[in-house]
Symmetry: C2
Subunit: 371 residues, 2 copies
Amino acid sequence: MRVSTIPKNDGFWMPGEFEEHKECWMLWPYRPDIWRCGGVYAQKTFAEVANAISKFEPVTVGVMPAYFDDARKKLRPEIRVVEFQYCDAWIRDSGPTFIKNSTGMLRGIDWSFNAWGGFNGGAYTNWDLDDKVASRILEIERVDSYRTDFFVLEGGSIHVDGEGTLLTTKQCLLNPNRNPELTQGDIEAYLKDYLNVSKIIWLEEGLFNDETDGHIDNICCFARPGEVILSWTDDKTHPSYPMCQAAYDILKKEVDAKGRALKVHKLELPTPIQITEEINEQIIASGESIKFEAGELLPASYVNFLFVNKGIILPVFKDEKDSIAIKTMQQIFPERSIVAIDSREIILGGGNIHCITQQQPKPNDFMEVSK
Amino acid sequence: MRVSTIPKNDGFWMPGEFEEHKECWMLWPYRPDIWRCGGVYAQKTFAEVANAISKFEPVTVGVMPAYFDDARKKLRPEIRVVEFQYCDAWIRDSGPTFIKNSTGMLRGIDWSFNAWGGFNGGAYTNWDLDDKVASRILEIERVDSYRTDFFVLEGGSIHVDGEGTLLTTKQCLLNPNRNPELTQGDIEAYLKDYLNVSKIIWLEEGLFNDETDGHIDNICCFARPGEVILSWTDDKTHPSYPMCQAAYDILKKEVDAKGRALKVHKLELPTPIQITEEINEQIIASGESIKFEAGELLPASYVNFLFVNKGIILPVFKDEKDSIAIKTMQQIFPERSIVAIDSREIILGGGNIHCITQQQPKPNDFMEVSK
């Protein structure tokens, strides 16, 4: 059911992704104008991601009816598969942001969604079904929802530490193609009201050529309260070099909501992936979605990983930097298993493992979710 | 997940419908070749039924995507609405039969479904989506399933007392359009294995002109162990008079699985409802479904009611017999609230409230459903 109050006033907050999950949600890719060869390779990789996550925590995959039987066969029997309608598979951005309170309840935020910019730079021309994904998921889970008809936000554009601090980028949240009528102050007020944070750390921009207008989840995330992981390169010719430097300078000067200076872990970027002519020809031009051009660089990043219970699902790229990333991540998270998955088929769509997943946190204690 | 063993061997049985429910499932009607005026009147009545049930127990309604927003508006906010694909809305017959064990687990039986007779008298020519309804529901609920690829059965063709006794009709279960290769003995063996019953009471046939080939749930049901409710008429000109008499004779001679003689409550039938020319013209002839003819009698029955927690949802027909039915039911069930709903729009499709609902029993204790 819809709740028309304000999460903060109701005592709800967004926990850190690194906290315990009840479940993880995904959607099955199928668009031939976004995924090459009608989606068959992306489907294989998505199945690999879902199957990997399901060894750590329960998984539900929403699937367009025509693909249900095939998805069911490719996914482990433990995974729940449900029929779903959606434009594309970026559930991090179209899905709900789950929030919890101290007495064992979960609720969800159903942000307005406009496909990363609507008719002013958005990824496709019709996003009606995507804008309904959050409410559908919350309804299946019988979790009450807050809807922000007046505020556009994607889940990939924010990260929180669960202790009052939020990380984001001005490039995305202050972009006139999201909430043109709101000032930075208005936007901060919404974030504080809905996610129950008290401190917002604004980076200037995300990685080079990130078609989401610089989502935070490709450049920087929390490892745990007081510690962030930043995409990094010492190579001045890397197109994301200036963004990483600028982000580092801000992070080193900032303190979090608890007044702590941030420990910044640098995670070296992979070599940018280039769209080849051959791949370009395997993606149809439908006129309904934007399309990378042959030769264009994709914003590959190891920071776009997913936390799962006791583990990390890490995107890798058959790149020479993969082994450095795995080693760095294992050093940051000695207590977690690192599962590396070749994610080149996902990055072709512009995002990665974090963008195609949405965690549902475990409520605070063993009481049943309210209804 | 699918389980390939036998429910009886696993310690599972089907509880009586009068036992406590966790939930009730429905599907939203939409076929213009079955419901008049594109389904708008049936939708209104289905909403009334769902809204009534939801005051007694949780309800989930599956809805074809194109009708989702309209259904959501017509249903109480407490009702869960999920997107679903299905041919028609008779979830009693296409849905799963839920079974439970003594340690708090639920499982479901996913019977083969052939639209009440396949190409030999079935109601429509394509039933693929209906045959998937049970597995989809079980997957949403994360309840393990038994699938009978080899055995066709509809939920409306059986009633159980939860203590080892099953009621059914030969007209339906022994009809060559269901399981032509199975003998009566084979069918009894399946029922005993899957529903964990030890005694099967066979009536000869159901009500006059019941297009399901005489489903039990229109003529007779259990009120509680040891007591049945039988559709009845003393009017020798009523087309169902001989069926009611024959059923009574059998029931008075039978004993149940516990050796008890059955108490038979007679519930007087309504006046049969006739399809008018006007209504016939409001239902399109698609060539994909059978169609009642103008002048044909519909098998209206008060026995096609639904048990809900502490209540009964009773179909009525703006008929002079309605008040007798309500009075009789309140006498049989002094402990339950009787909610009467004008069901004339449902009976136009050939069934009634019991046919469009499917209860999910409450597991035996407070342990979480396995998975």
